[in-house]
Subunit: 199 residues, 2 copies
């Protein structure tokens, strides 16, 4: 059975969990105390030298890191990854957009505000993260004004990856009221059969 090391409050950890739930794949969840240093112990670093969760044990002793790499591995040959080569490329484009242009702004702000609960300590950094976060939401709004899903004409892992932190963007201080297409898409994702909430 697959084992997922994760943190229930982390959107990155939610991504592979959501897809395993949608696919009906049994797995064991190991809750990790990240602020408590459990991802920096020698035992955990032997599993993932980068010291991060999620971490997925795919075979006994074989560990895969990076939430979006797990999505690719879990989605192969399923409806969550398009068969068409160009549409697969667009899925990849949105997965990298999520990790480079979205997560470092929206998830990081949420980490400081919602997870560490230290708005004053991080005030200047939160202000710095605002423009990048809203820029990412603007790119998503433009795309979702033209189509219902990010790639392949259906719900794919591109949507799962972007849903993870967008649906809790308000916990990072981001206001989605000016992004109606994003809000409608969040509703479509949550209405998918087998959907499970993050917490």
């Amino acid at each position: 059975m697959l084992t997922l090391y994760g943190d229930r409050q982390s959107g990155n950890c939610y991504k592979p969990r959501l897809l395993m739930e949608l696919r009906g794949i049994p797995y064991r969840w190991v809750e990790m105390n990240v602020p408590g240093g459990e991802t920096r112990t020698p035992a955990f670093l032997a599993k993932n030298p980068n010291g991060r969760v999620p971490l997925l044990e795919v075979e006994p002793g074989v560990h895969l890191a990076e939430s979006n790499a797990m999505l690719c591995w879990l989605a192969e040959g399923t409806p969550w990854m398009p068969e068409d080569r160009l549409q697969r490329a667009f899925v990849m484009q949105w997965l990298f957009f999520e990790q480079y242009s979205h997560e470092p702004y929206i998830a990081t702000s949420r980490y400081w505000l919602h997870y560490l609960k230290q708005p004053e300590e991080y005030r200047a950094r939160l202000d710095e993260k605002r423009p990048g976060g809203y820029a990412a939401l603007g790119v998503m709004e433009g795309e979702l004004s033209k189509r219902d899903w990010f790639a392949g004409g259906r719900y794919t892992i591109a949507d799962i990856a972007l849903y993870a932190y967008t649906h809790v963007a308000h916990e990072g201080g981001f206001d989605l009221s000016a992004y109606p297409a994003v809000r409608a898409w969040l509703d479509r994702v949550a209405a998918q059969p087998g959907h499970v909430p993050m917490v």
Copy 2:
């Protein structure tokens, strides 16, 4: 013919160019003046709403963004992407590691130092980027102490993605002398048949 919009000094733009050269795929290169604002014009934003290079026109009027998504698209069905499902997952793991844990530290430092040539203006931020950059190099050193290539037992797009900014890490102020396995791997990549330098 494929058209690649890029900046000759950018490691991200070098990635798809290197793979197209290795594969012998003809392409047209359009040099973009990034500091001059050419990626933020209405005409370019119509092609890539995220306003970044590289951008690859894969069919007339159809544009693919994100350097590592281009690598995936260009490598499919070639020796640069493993056939084994788990090894493909490890390729993806390293591609996401590169964009999240490597590029934001090493490439960003190089941008300030080598591209903008503003060491004093960015002194405090450069200092902030040091630990993350060296942490990424440490993870790479550990991996390359055990194997010659990052995934699949051969030269893949995981190596291409990580080579792009590692081989110019010194231009971002990073000293590779304590990373002998990384340096030996850089030499292996540069010795591959058909290799072309970045500039």
